[in-house]
Point group: C2
Chain length 293, copies 2
């Protein structure tokens, strides 16, 4: 079959062997490879990552794998939305060349017993309320990067802490891949796109849409020199007033190492990080403090 | 400089950048690459690994790095023998093409915070008395394999548990490298070659030389159908009689997963594993039970 025919439609690999056969073919042809790991339930945010990968490489692989190792027993692993055929169609339209859709058995065969963990940058924020999360993420991403062996991999800034964890892991373990962060895509009212938004009731959706306004206003105040502690206190009130049921965290941390800022004005490039719950849905978001802007 | 001249003498790389420049040059020339990680203080056992790597690949890299992360504070990190120029000369004579000799700062720059850990196969034996050991080993070997990117890496069976830990890690993390085990080289009296043999007093050396006789006799009895518990009890007496100051462990475990055998005869391919102390020196050794031999 001529190469053009092979590449005119997106392939689907369900095993590492099939994945590598395809990727090795590209390599032999001198093509560069980009990679976008996902848990499926795709939305425009994911597709923007695929398009970004296509800017960095000539072929793009996207994986769809709901990773059991990054969910705690109390979390929403079983309920996490799954819609494979819709996902595959969206990936193809976005210009993805190969979808890698492994089973849990392919990823974690019997006897599996290795884990990768990252230290300080995994602590706090989502690492505090989800203690197994980043270990599970680091391990599965290490596997995926070794399976795909891409030149570049794209991660969304919505999961900003995850992006830093992956950057740290790749650097510390001397993995040969460029890690590219991509900006958050937002709905018309500014709500960060997320697969978990599908859980929201109409009322919850209205509440959720107010989160980004709170943190962007905080970021603007902080950029103007406001003290972190007072700004966070005001932000907490605003989130309560917005109708959220519970605040997991609202913090200002440095953009490179996630060092806590405050109590006074921020002293280096920082972001406002938030996780808040409405109904049964936990939403996260973050916003950069544009210093000197 | 023509390639022949470059390869006629062994190179020395002290940074990952220099290492990769050399290895990438080989790759571009279509050459395969073997790798032997060491902590220096080389002896014929190490050199046999280099020669074995040369059977599997056209170019061989050996690393010399005394990895602080695999020593506990109470262990012999500072005292561990270091003899770089002698090591480099030995490597060159053994046919090594490139020595990678990184500093601790090159391996663990400020901010380093990632670790790789392997589960069940790291438990027991050396993992029991040296709880940080295999985590430190897995992390540094993951780094070295990603730095060198070899086709094959050779590990001695003297550190048999380490070999299994590395095999497991490579499989679990989908790393693209063949892990090759190489048989133990022994002195004339059967003492397994080890850098730590240099610590032995004349008296300790005589005691040490009796260890292999005890475990090989045990392996022979077990191969003949003797019960594990009785054989181990006899072995413990023999090690005490041989003059050792302390026994760390003496166990019979399966060769693939290190499952404990006994109390009756072994039920699958197994090895006798021992760690014993004479003076300040801890010696390890292992011997296969030749079933059906």
């Amino acid at each position: 079959m001529p190469a053009a025919a092979v590449d005119s439609q997106m392939g689907v690999a369900r095993t590492v062997k099939a994945l590598r056969a395809r990727v090795d073919g590209w390599r032999s042809a001198g093509l560069t490879v980009g990679f976008v790991p996902t848990m499926g339930a795709l939305h425009d945010g994911h597709l923007s990552l695929v398009r970004r990968a296509n800017q960095y490489a000539q072929r793009t692989v996207a994986s769809i794998f709901v990773n059991p190792a990054q969910f705690a027993p109390t979390e929403d692993f079983s309920a996490y939305p799954r819609q494979e055929s819709a996902d595959l169609e969206m990936l193809q339209k976005a210009g993805c060349h190969l979808a890698f859709v492994p089973t849990a058995e392919e990823m974690y065969p019997e006897g599996f017993q290795t884990s990768v963990s990252v230290g300080a940058v995994s602590q706090g924020l989502c690492g505090a309320s989800r203690p197994h999360f980043f270990g599970g993420v680091a391990t599965v991403v290490a596997k995926l990067l070794n399976q795909v062996r891409p030149d570049a991999a794209v991660f969304g800034e919505k999961d900003y802490q995850q992006l830093l964890v992956i950057r740290r892991m790749v650097k510390d373990l001397n993995m040969s891949v460029d890690i590219i962060g991509a900006p958050i895509l937002r709905e018309a009212d500014g709500l960060a796109m997320s697969s978990r938004n599908a859980y929201l009731s109409a009322e919850g959706r209205a509440v959720a849409g107010r989160l980004n306004g709170v943190i962007s206003a905080m970021a603007e105040k902080l950029a103007g020199g406001a003290a972190v502690d007072a700004t966070v206190a005001d932000g907490k009130s605003a989130i309560e007033s917005a109708g959220f049921d519970r605040l997991d965290y609202l913090e200002v941390r440095s953009s490179d190492l996630l060092e806590p800022m405050g109590p006074g004005p921020v002293t280096k490039p920082s972001r406002v990080f938030v996780a808040a719950i409405t109904g049964k849905t936990r939403l996260i978001d973050n916003w950069p403090v544009e210093m000197g802007a």
